[in-house]
Assembly symmetry: C2
């Protein structure tokens, strides 16, 4: 049986927002960094898959934070693959502080994409990538939820630019979060204490595509939908303020 | 006599652009990370200055890269304070690859700002922050140049948003670079082999400020000027493609 992987992070000055606490997008950045690094170390990273022109693509993800870590705070991140089915591999995360108290948790669901066809691959045909890496421990929180259509009118629009795209040539996860947060009243990140964010990725946004953002607010929940110029949903996101 | 500080970096997947090489803004990010960390370790970091409501503010900077490092490439960064005068402290950097070959170098000039008055402080009144940290080695390249007015018409405009601002509540250096690169033809970062970038910071851009970008192109040189809504220059930048 495999063991959980352990990473240590420090909230560096470049990861904090104007409140001197880690921003939500930088927390996603550290968590996704650990995911990439763990896959790389265990031999099924994007570098190995790229040899066959395959790659991991994030399908859904959720993150719960009981508080926002402060600048220079150190924390420990545990990550493990909890299992997989035909289309989805599930990677879990917990975040614990110096005293060993868990203050955050995340669940991510990944597809393996064939970049030649841009279609998902059947995970079973490549099941050996996971051999010996599954950790028999439950996810630390509810799985990322399916987010339904958000019908409201656009509140912001721009083109996907050079700095938005990653090695996959598609819009980077952190940039979706930044774009959404940039439309919120500044008091939301300023007063943020605890939160849960769910993300659903439906369709890639590529360089030059239009990115149209709609948002609905209900009490302490913000629901975002990113659409392309054809009106198709690219990504949906809910932010629950606790 | 103090010694140069040494940092080791790996070009992580989140630092590369669609060419699978480090982006210019992520190279600045790593270099400025080292600057902050070195100041922190030596006891004159932003955390210590913040106790008196002072802070380091970047005034000018240049970066030369002979090539763009590839994903997962490791490099060594040396950094040292070369000296200071009444208003400016100079920090130098060299970047060397695994074989010990220098492939990049940078010079940065910093002011110490009093956040109560938003005015620069006389470095001599705080000269002891530098005591024993000056390294008697010349800057590895020409100092950042003074960039004159760029008179051309705006090519892009937006507001300074939440994700653009740092703990100082002003526009982050990397975001200026991203914004400028986002307006370039995509072939510029795609074909980029070697470059020098100079930056002059004249005035802070703060949350909600208008950010108006003008650009002039001459052969292999792009000159950028960021202005606020009142037409004042905030930051100028030149990119020389080698």
């Amino acid at each position: 049986m495999a063991e959980k992987s352990v990473f240590r992070y420090t909230v560096e000055p470049e990861s904090v927002d104007f409140t001197s606490r880690a921003s939500v997008s930088s927390m996603f950045n550290m968590i996704l960094h650990a995911a990439g690094k763990d896959a790389h170390r265990r031999g099924f990273g994007i570098d190995v898959l790229a040899e066959r022109n395959f790659g991991w693509v994030l399908s859904r993800m959720c993150l719960e934070l009981d508080r926002m870590p402060a600048e220079y705070e150190e924390f420990t991140l545990h990550t493990w693959i909890g299992g997989y089915n035909r289309l989805i591999s599930t990677r879990n995360f917990t975040l614990t502080d110096k005293e060993g108290n868990e203050f955050g948790r995340a669940v991510s669901q990944w597809c393996m994409l064939d970049f030649d066809t841009r279609m998902p691959l059947d995970m079973n045909t490549l099941a050996k990538v996971h051999d010996g890496t599954i950790v028999d421990a439950p996810s630390p929180c509810d799985a990322p939820k399916r987010i339904g259509t958000i019908g409201s009118e656009p509140i912001a629009e721009r083109k996907v630019a050079y700095s938005d795209i990653d090695f996959n040539r598609h819009m980077n996860t952190m940039r979706y979060i930044d774009f959404a947060f940039d439309t919120l009243p500044i008091e939301v990140p300023e007063k943020l204490q605890a939160m849960r964010m769910d993300m659903n990725f439906m369709k890639e946004a590529r360089y030059g595509d239009s990115l149209i953002l709609a948002c609905e607010e209900n009490d302490a929940q913000y629901n975002f939908e990113f659409r392309n110029g054809a009106g198709e949903a690219l990504c949906r996101m809910t932010l629950d303020i606790k």
